[in-house]
């Protein structure tokens, strides 16, 4: 399962990395949008300043048509010479103003004044036309015009704000007054001045006019623009430079950013200005990347690569899962099922499995041992032989014999554990071996009884399949005179087995140089002790036989 786990770790890391990137990307996108909006707003502010400047220039230029009108010049000249003639010239002057104003077409004034040399309004068109006599000499633009300047300005008159242009009126070689052109700040003017970005004009905390901005974009309402006006008056940059830093405007409809600037002119000193507002969409969660993407964005994705990557990740996951999960389990299942056909006393060969599957196999073996023991201990079974209890093959002596391989001369001692093999669909169990014994008893309690010629077949240090139920050699036929442990005849019995084993090895052409009786006897005793401990038998019978062309020994517990 190592690769599967490593793969899972890789996928988890990749997922975590992707999530981190997406979350970081959200913040980066929001920051980039803010920076971009800030730059756009400052650029638009410069453009608006330029547009207002050009608009002022245009108004000053078109006003020449009014200032040079002969009737206007004549009327103002008369009044400048004799102020008491103001009433007599007013109607004609007003008619001239109306006519000339109409000719200005797109730049027609909302309010057009004719002022005499004292700065007194003699006639005005557009607003309150019957009114006259107001003294506007103190207005800097009018005062400058009466001295010969062309000058623009902004005036705040009550709640309205006007863009102003003033020109001198010259008659002969002298200034006889001025004409003053006023354009009221309106939504239309705001839209004309700034068609790309929403432009608003404000006065104090009121919005005077608001442009429509670009179609199909989020629009700010007047209340939105006015929302931060209280901050504007305190803004350090506004007080120092005449325009604010870019201010965020949070609304129910969305997020905007705005920059506020004083208008040039007298009204600017009364906190009249313009604001440029831009919607700045902010990503609040990562899913908005998908929600706000267009079909074109989705189509532009490298779908083939994405799908291949997903399929590859999935396929690799399945492969690792099969190799490390399903296949070992299937093998275990097959081996377990094969047990049905095997000798009842056979167990699973745990060495054929790894890690957890090996543990499962060991657990199965333990359970099997436990069940067998339980059956042996049951009252109605106690009288039966072990072959009768464990299976139907009691007559087959081969199945009741434990076989083990003696260590070859110079061979390392076997690993701790005892492998059991079964002929045919071989299985083995590896009960914990009590060191240093080569043969270890299983952890389960030993069965109470075992008859001669019965018991699990055991192989010590076997590598490779055991020849299925190898038929014992004639010299290895079981004998009935198996001595009891520690009896006098035991040494002779071991000598007899040794001789048979020695002879068979020679016969098979194996080396017998290192095969001494002492070592052989030690091995026999160890295996005898292990089997006695496991099966609670009184003696162990050894048989010599040939297996795979080599001499081998088979041990059989003898109960009585």
């Amino acid at each position: 399962m190592f690769i599967s786990r490593f793969w899972t770790l890789l996928l988890a890391l990749a997922t975590g990395a992707m999530l981190t990137v997406i979350l970081l990307a959200k913040d980066v996108v929001n920051r980039e949008r803010t920076v971009s909006a800030t730059m756009v707003l400052y650029k638009e502010m410069s453009k608006t300043e330029l547009a207002l400047k050009l608009h002022a220039r245009k108004r000053l230029d078109v006003l020449l048509n009014v200032a040079s009108d002969p009737d206007v010049r004549k009327a103002l000249s008369q009044v400048s010479n004799a102020p008491d003639k103001a009433d007599s010239v007013r109607d004609d002057l007003l008619a001239s103003l109306r006519k000339r104003n109409t000719e200005l077409d797109k730049y027609a004034a909302d309010w057009l004044m004719a002022v005499d040399a004292r700065g007194i309004v003699i006639a005005q068109a557009g607003v309150d036309e019957r009114r006259s006599g107001a003294d506007v000499s103190g207005k800097p633009a009018v005062a400058a015009a009466m001295r010969g300047y062309l000058r623009d300005d902004t005036w705040k008159i009550e709640k309205d704000v006007f863009l102003v242009a003033a020109r001198p009126v010259i008659d002969g070689e002298r200034y006889v007054g001025a004409v003053v052109h006023l354009t009221k700040l309106s939504d239309k003017l705001a839209q004309d001045i700034s068609p790309n970005t929403q432009l608003a004009f404000y006065s104090g905390d009121m919005i005077l006019a608001l442009g429509a901005g670009v179609p199909d974009t989020l629009k700010a309402q007047g209340a939105h623009v006015a929302k931060v006006l209280d901050q504007v008056a305190k803004n350090e940059s506004y007080l120092k430079n005449g325009y604010t830093d870019v201010l965020p405007i949070e609304t129910q409809e969305g997020r905007f950013m705005g920059v506020y600037s004083r208008v040039r002119g007298e009204a600017g000193l009364s906190n009249v200005g313009f604001a440029l507002v831009l919607p700045v969409e902010q990503l609040t969660n990562a899913t908005e990347f998908y929600e706000k993407s267009s079909e074109q964005d989705i189509r532009a994705l490298p779908w083939v690569v994405i799908i291949l990557l997903v399929l590859m990740a999935m396929a690799l996951g399945w492969v690792w899962n099969y190799l490390e999960g399903e296949r070992p389990v299937s093998r275990l299942l097959a081996h377990v099922r094969a047990l049905k056909e095997a000798d009842p006393k056979d167990q699973l060969n745990v060495y054929k499995f790894r890690r957890r599957i090996r543990k499962v196999a060991m657990a199965i073996n333990e359970v099997m041992d436990f069940k067998i023991q339980a059956m042996l201990e049951s009252p109605d079974r106690k009288s039966q032989s072990i072959d009768a209890i464990l299976g139907t093959r009691g007559s087959d002596s081969r199945l009741s014999v434990a076989s083990f391989k003696l260590p070859e001369p110079g061979e390392a001692p076997p690993p701790p554990g005892l492998a059991m093999s079964k002929p045919g669909p071989g299985f083995g169990a590896m009960p914990p071996a009590p060191p240093p014994a080569a043969v270890a008893a299983p952890p389960s309690p030993p069965p109470q009884a075992a008859t001669a010629g019965t018991g699990p077949m055991m192989k010590l240090g076997a590598t490779g399949p055991v020849k299925p139920m190898g038929r014992p050699s004639p010299s290895a036929e079981p004998t009935d005179d198996v001595p009891e442990v520690g009896s006098v005849g035991e040494q002779a019995y071991f000598q007899k087995i040794y001789d048979e084993f020695f002879a068979l090895k020679k016969q098979l052409g194996e080396s017998v140089d290192q095969l001494t009786f002492d070592r052989f006897a030690v091995t026999l005793r160890k295996n005898r002790d292990a089997l006695i401990a496991r099966y609670a038998c009184k003696a162990v019978k050894f048989q010599v036989y040939e297996k795979d062309g080599k001499a081998s020994l088979k041990a059989t517990p003898v109960k009585a």
Binding site: L52, K53, A56, R57, L60, G119, G133, A134, D135, V136, S137, G138, K139, P140, A141, A143, A144, R147, G148, Y149, L150, R151, D152, D153, K156, I157, R167, P168, I170, E173, R174, Y175, G242, R262, R264, G265, E266, A267, G268, L269, S270
Partner: protein
């Protein structure tokens, strides 16, 4: 004998009357350089305060420098050495017109009250940035607004509704304040003997000053000539501080 004594008294009395009858007069001349300096200063203010996009001369006639009206823009302050503190002035009224006070420079003494009367069709909200008691207050046409100036100093008078509006009140312990005629002439009748300092102020700042002595018993009028040549820009000072012109 009685006739002789009476004659001496009459002569002394007449002589005394003749001495008091000496007049202090003079004339203020505004030089072209002063008006040019004024035009330059106005242009500088217009640009720094972003008052316009365009201010350019017309192509037909030369531009006229800004006018300085002696009656409206100038004031003569006369100080007599050793003269006692004259105390507050009587209540004086100043009209408020479009864009400025009818008299742009009002000179008064500490503790005096000046009454501002609006004669403009537009509303005003007059205030002084350096007199805390002179706060903005809506004033309709025809309405009065009395303001006390308790201590010496130069006080700007501004209007919240008309940012270009500016007037000046100079509060000083002058012995006399003379009005100017349209041609810049002024006269102080029956000036007492002593050393006089005659100053002409524009926008609350003394632009020129002359000293003259009227002798005890002298009969000849004293005359001074004051020229406005160099523009000195006023710096608003808070109340209780004397003015310090900045060149």
């Amino acid at each position: 004998m009685r006739t002789s004594v009476l004659g001496v008294f009459l002569l002394v009395a007449l002589g005394a009357n003749d001495a008091r009858a000496a007049n202090l007069s003079g004339k203020v001349t505004v030089t072209p350089a002063f008006r040019e300096a004024l035009a330059a200063q106005e242009k500088k203010v217009g640009e720094t305060e972003r008052l316009y996009y365009w201010q350019e001369p017309n192509s037909a006639l030369p531009v006229v420098p800004p006018a300085v009206s002696p009656t409206k823009d100038l004031a003569i302050i006369i100080r007599l050495d050793g003269a006692p503190d004259p105390g507050p002035d009587e209540l004086q009224t100043v009209d408020v017109r479009a864009g400025s006070l009818a008299k742009n420079l009002v000179v008064t003494r500490p503790g005096s009250t000046v009454r501002f009367k609006s004669v403009d069709v537009f509303e005003h909200e007059l205030y002084s940035p350096n007199l805390p008691s002179f706060t903005p207050e809506r004033q309709s046409s025809g309405a009065f607004r009395p303001i006390e100036f308790p201590s010496e100093g130069l006080f700007e008078v501004r209007c919240k509704l008309m940012p270009h509006f500016v007037g000046y009140v100079l509060v000083t312990k002058a012995t006399h304040v003379a009005s100017l005629a349209a041609d810049g002439a002024f006269t102080l009748d029956k000036a007492e003997p002593g050393k006089y300092t005659v100053q002409v102020a524009f926008r609350g700042v003394v632009m020129a000053s002359e000293s003259v002595v009227i002798e005890e018993g002298g009969r000849k009028d004293a005359t001074v000539a004051l020229k406005l040549e160099k523009l000195v820009v006023a710096e608003s000072k808070p109340a209780n501080k004397t003015e310090t012109p900045k060149k």
